[in-house]
């Protein structure tokens, strides 16, 4: 018997804020320094030290709240989450509990089938990251690196609104896009700047009551999120169908084995003994500050996509792709502005040749390798018919490899399109003279041979004949 199951997913996304210093100390947040080189006495939890809140982290959290249409708390409270762990120097993490800085927002997510889904965001709160325990190369010992300790985070807690692993990934990507748009997080998932916990449960279709959930901790790639959830859903359904019960527990995803494993059950869970941190005053924000942040907000991805569609006459899909990151959108706009009458051409090139080339070398749209102005230089030569689209691809490859401008390559390789009707006619006549048989067949009614003549003339002109002109002249000449 197979009941119809519904999957219910909520995500807790941790996004490291891109401040230069830590949330409660002046130590730097840069990634990759030698262990403990960026841990101040505050980060080390030395006796007598006290936290001082970094205002930039607050501004960034407010930025996020405004971007998801959430309520910004005029007063929020930092609380201590108490537990013992070597990478948590104070024995507590400073977080927000009862009164978070951001509450009740939402994001609209476009799904694969083109439909839009609204995902509620319960809250987003400020907190400090923990350090890291190190095991590699230390034998039986454990090392502690506190460089990450005190790095500011916002934890973005969604409603249990997602119904499939794909929806969860689409939502996570949307948040990822947004925080990078806002320039509040670098989004680097490999370095752990953007990671999530997934709360997953299943229930019979139509049931109102939520099933017992498992929380999968610390997943740091979109692919792993999808796989971990898929595995977990299958595990839970199989468990229930074979007469078992899902227990509330924390699980870890093992990407090597592609499975989730129990970490600790509810009974073993810490009692975090949250209470307001007496070292920090409640965080009070006034209207003026919030307005200032609002004024500084960039155009958001959804707004930008709508504008792209109308301003550049793009499809909703293309507009969505081009606004997926701020760098890409800015890049596209720069190109489109430089080639004003060809926004669609610009879109095709940015999403086509450029995206493929960047992808191959794992580069972003902001890459130095092909500045927007340089690509625009190429597109202008297509637009003014100096080269054909086909030749343009060849030029692009040369530009990518050598970093020269389109004009220089067209010039040095002599790729300029032949638009002189006399020259094209001469080439046609030569081909006709060399291919009497084909000519006779064509004239006898074999229309398909038209393509043969196009090809031959292109070959003779090294592809430089203007295709439209060539077509026209051939149509005139071939019939005799």
């Amino acid at each position: 018997m197979t009941a119809e199951w519904e999957t219910v997913i909520g995500l807790e996304i941790h996004a490291q804020l891109a401040t230069r210093s830590k949330i409660f100390s002046g130590a730097a947040t840069a990634y990759g320094a030698p262990p403990n080189a960026q841990a101040s006495l505050v980060d080390l939890g030395f006796p007598g030290v006290l936290p001082v809140l970094n205002r930039e982290a607050v501004r960034m959290a407010v930025c996020f709240g405004l971007a998801i249409g959430a309520r910004i708390a005029r007063q929020s409270v930092f609380a201590r989450k108490n537990y013992f762990y070597p990478d948590l120097p104070k024995g507590y993490q400073i977080s927000q509990y009862e009164l978070p800085i951001v509450a009740q927002g939402a994001l609209d997510v476009v799904l694969d089938d083109g439909s839009t889904k609204r995902v509620g965001i319960t809250r987003a709160h400020l907190e400090e990251d923990a350090g890291k325990s190190l095991h590699e190369g230390l034998g039986a010992l454990t090392g502690v690196d506190l460089n990450r300790a005190g790095t500011p985070l916002i934890e973005i807690v969604s409603e249990p609104d997602m119904r499939s692993a794909k929806e969860a990934v689409a939502y996570m990507k949307k948040v990822h896009t947004l925080v990078r748009y806002l320039e509040i997080c670098d989004g680097n998932m490999q370095e752990g700047s953007f990671r999530c916990d997934a709360n997953v449960s299943v229930r019979p279709k139509g049931a109102e009551k939520l099933g017992t959930r498992a929380e999968i901790k610390n997943i740091n790639s979109f692919r792993f999120v999808e796989k971990a959830i898929q595995y977990e859903v299958a595990r839970q359904i199989e468990l229930i169908e074979s007469g078992g019960k899902v227990v509330q527990e924390t699980r870890l995803y093992d990407p090597d084995k592609g499975e989730t494993r129990a970490m600790r059950t509810k009974e073993e869970a810490n009692d975090y003994r949250y209470f307001p941190d007496p070292d920090l005053l409640p965080l009070a924000l006034d209207e003026a500050f919030i307005e200032e942040v609002r004024k500084g907000l960039p155009e958001l991805p959804d707004e930008k996509a709508v504008r792209f569609a109308s301003q550049y006459g793009l499809s909703a899909y293309d507009a969505g792709v081009l606004t997926a990151s701020r760098e890409l959108a800015d890049y596209y706009e720069e190109v489109a502005r430089a080639v004003p009458r060809e926004p669609k051409l610009a879109a095709n090139w940015v999403m086509g040749e450029l995206a493929a080339a960047l992808n191959k070398e794992n580069l972003d749209a902001g890459s130095e390798k092909m500045p927007a102005a340089r690509l625009a230089g190429l597109l202008m030569r297509i637009a003014d018919q100096t080269i054909s689209g086909k030749i343009a691809k060849e030029v692009f490859e040369a530009m990518w490899a050598g970093g020269e401008s389109a004009d220089a390559i067209i010039e040095s390789k002599g790729l300029k399109q032949i638009t002189d009707a006399g020259a094209i006619e001469r080439a046609i006549e030569e081909v006709m003279a060399k291919s009497p048989g084909q000519l006779a067949d064509y004239r006898a009614g074999k229309d398909k041979l038209f393509g043969f003549f196009v090809g031959q003339v292109m070959k003779a002109t090294q592809g430089k004949a203007n295709p439209a002109q060539l077509n026209e002249l051939l149509k005139k000449k071939l019939p005799g």
């Binding site: 006495l41 080390l44 939890g45 030395f46 006796p47 007598g48 030290v49 006290l50 936290p51 001082v52 809140l53 201590r80 108490n82 013992f84 070597p86 120097p89 104070k90 024995g91 507590y92 454990t142 502690v144 009692d271 003994r273 949250y274 209470f275 007496p278 070292d279 920090l280 005053l281």
Partner: protein, 488 residues
């Protein structure tokens, strides 16, 4: 002459140094001798930093000669051993920090240093400032200079005993529930706990963060005013310190008391108050009335709940503040831990004493899921009511007065078996901590040969006012000039 220098207060000493009647080196030597001579009897110091002190004194003498010394140039002081001092160990009276040398100076330490004060050492205290008798120190109890079989009070017992025995003219101390005022009363000296946020807590090892406040123990209100003025002020490193200018507490000491309204806290004259002690308080109030102040009785109905509220809030905060002592980065670490749990259990089990453990456990309990509302949240609500009581009272009077502690000092060991009896010692002092108010204690006579104290509580940031009232009282009386015979 140098054997008589200790008869002077801090103000006179600062003046004597400035006018070059004696040098800082002479003065420091004289005090170091007294410290050395008394240490085996009183046990007031945990560390004595003679060498550094003499070096600093010589430098102070050069500064004074060059006319560029600060307000405390060359004046010897000592710090309660929970103020972090760079290069000198800071034990907090605990085995846990027996080996801890801070890499930085507490803001208070740095401020006093830049005012020219010379640090002679670190003073004994109840472990992590938890205690009212200085019997919980890992470094042994401190004895009361008035009778060495008696406690000096706590937790700043070392600071109070040292000042009372004139081993030092002034000392830093901290007050979370009475830890400056109660030992001041029991040792017959003057101690002030300022408004919460007036003195930086940066570098002051935390016990209960919402209550801890650094202050001064000295022999007179005048001296306390001088030293506090140099310690107080906003500190960007302490988010709870308040950015408001520090008035010159010394300049306003002499203001006449005519028209000053004094309220005797009715709830403090209760059945727990020793009758002789009450008599000393009433005599002191009569002195203030004669000096021009008007006296009335004021009721603060929620104040009797102070002790239970305090023993929820303070342990809750302490249980979290002391979590960092885990044997990982600093402090005591057990021998050969088997695993992480073992490291935590034994390091903390061996490093902390019984009273600290009792409070960590109490605090952990009151913050636990299912108990938080009933204990911590309720205590915070009652704390609000107590604050409101004070606020109302300060609408009627300028200062509030009452006894500092229910009795004079008790015998060493008399209350160690019963923590509740010990906790009740702070019944009159805790209220000011819960409400964040400035409060001081001054000696107002003796009961059975042991000193007792009068407590004066002010409105927020009214340190100048309570110091003024205390100073006017001390102009009329000489209790603060009395020295224990043994240390005269």
């Amino acid at each position: 002459m140098s054997e008589l220098l200790h008869k002077n207060g801090l103000t006179q000493l600062a003046a004597g140094l400035r006018t070059k009647q004696f040098s800082s080196v002479e003065l420091v030597r004289a005090y170091l001798q007294r410290i050395e001579a008394s240490q085996s009897v009183l046990n007031a110091f945990i560390s004595v930093t003679a060498e550094q002190a003499l070096g600093a004194a010589a430098a102070a003498d050069r500064d004074i000669a060059a006319g560029r010394g600060g307000a405390l140039a060359g004046v010897p002081i000592a710090h309660k051993d929970l103020f972090c001092t760079a290069g000198v160990r800071t034990t907090c009276g605990s085995r846990m920090l027996a080996n801890f040398v801070s890499p930085y100076d507490a803001t208070v330490v740095a401020k006093l240093k830049s005012a020219g004060a010379i640090t002679l050492g670190k003073l004994n205290m109840d472990e992590f400032a938890m205690g009212s008798s200085n019997e919980t120190s890992y470094y042994g109890p401190v004895r009361n200079p008035w009778n060495i079989d008696f406690v000096p009070g706590g937790s700043s017992g070392g600071s109070a005993a040292a000042v009372a025995a004139r081993l030092i003219p002034g000392a830093t101390a901290t007050d979370t529930g009475g830890s400056i005022r109660q030992p001041a009363a029991l040792c017959g000296i003057t101690g002030i706990k300022p408004t919460y946020g007036r003195v930086s807590r940066y570098g002051m090892v935390a016990f209960a963060s919402s209550l801890d406040q650094g202050g001064v123990l000295a022999t007179s209100a005048e001296d306390a005013a001088l030293m506090l003025r140099e310690m107080a002020g906003f500190d960007p490193n302490d988010s709870t310190s308040v950015d408001t200018p520090v008035p010159d507490y010394v300049a306003s000491l002499d203001a006449p008391l005519a028209g000053v309204k004094i309220g005797l806290i009715k709830e403090f004259v209760d059945e727990g108050l020793d009758r002789e002690n009450e008599r000393r308080i009433r005599e002191a109030l009569a002195v203030l009335e004669r000096a021009g102040a008007s006296l009335r009785e004021v009721s603060l109905p929620h104040l009797p709940s102070s002790v239970p509220v305090y023993y929820v809030v303070a342990p809750a905060e302490c249980s979290s503040n002391l979590a960092r002592y885990d044997g990982v980065r600093f402090g005591h670490r057990c021998q050969e831990p088997r695993d992480l749990q073992d490291l935590y259990r034994r390091s903390r089990g061996e490093g902390f004493g019984a009273e600290v453990k009792r409070r960590i456990m109490t605090g952990t309990y009151v913050l636990s899921a299912g108990y938080y509302d009933a204990y911590y949240l309720k205590a915070q609500r009652v704390r609000q009511l107590i604050s409101a009581d004070f606020k109302r009272a300060f609408g009627e009077v300028d200062v509030l007065v009452g006894p500092t502690s229910p009795t004079a000092a008790f015998r060493i060991g008399a209350k160690t078996a019963d923590p509740i009896t010990m906790y009740l010692n702070d019944i009159y002092t805790i209220g000011a901590n819960l409400a964040g108010l400035p409060a001081l204690s001054i000696p107002c006579g003796f009961v059975g040969g042991l000193p007792v104290g009068l407590q004066i509580v002010g409105a927020h940031f009214a340190e100048a006012r309570i110091l003024n009232v205390a100073h006017r009282y001390q102009l009329e009386t000489d209790w603060h000039r009395k020295l224990p015979e043994r240390f005269a």
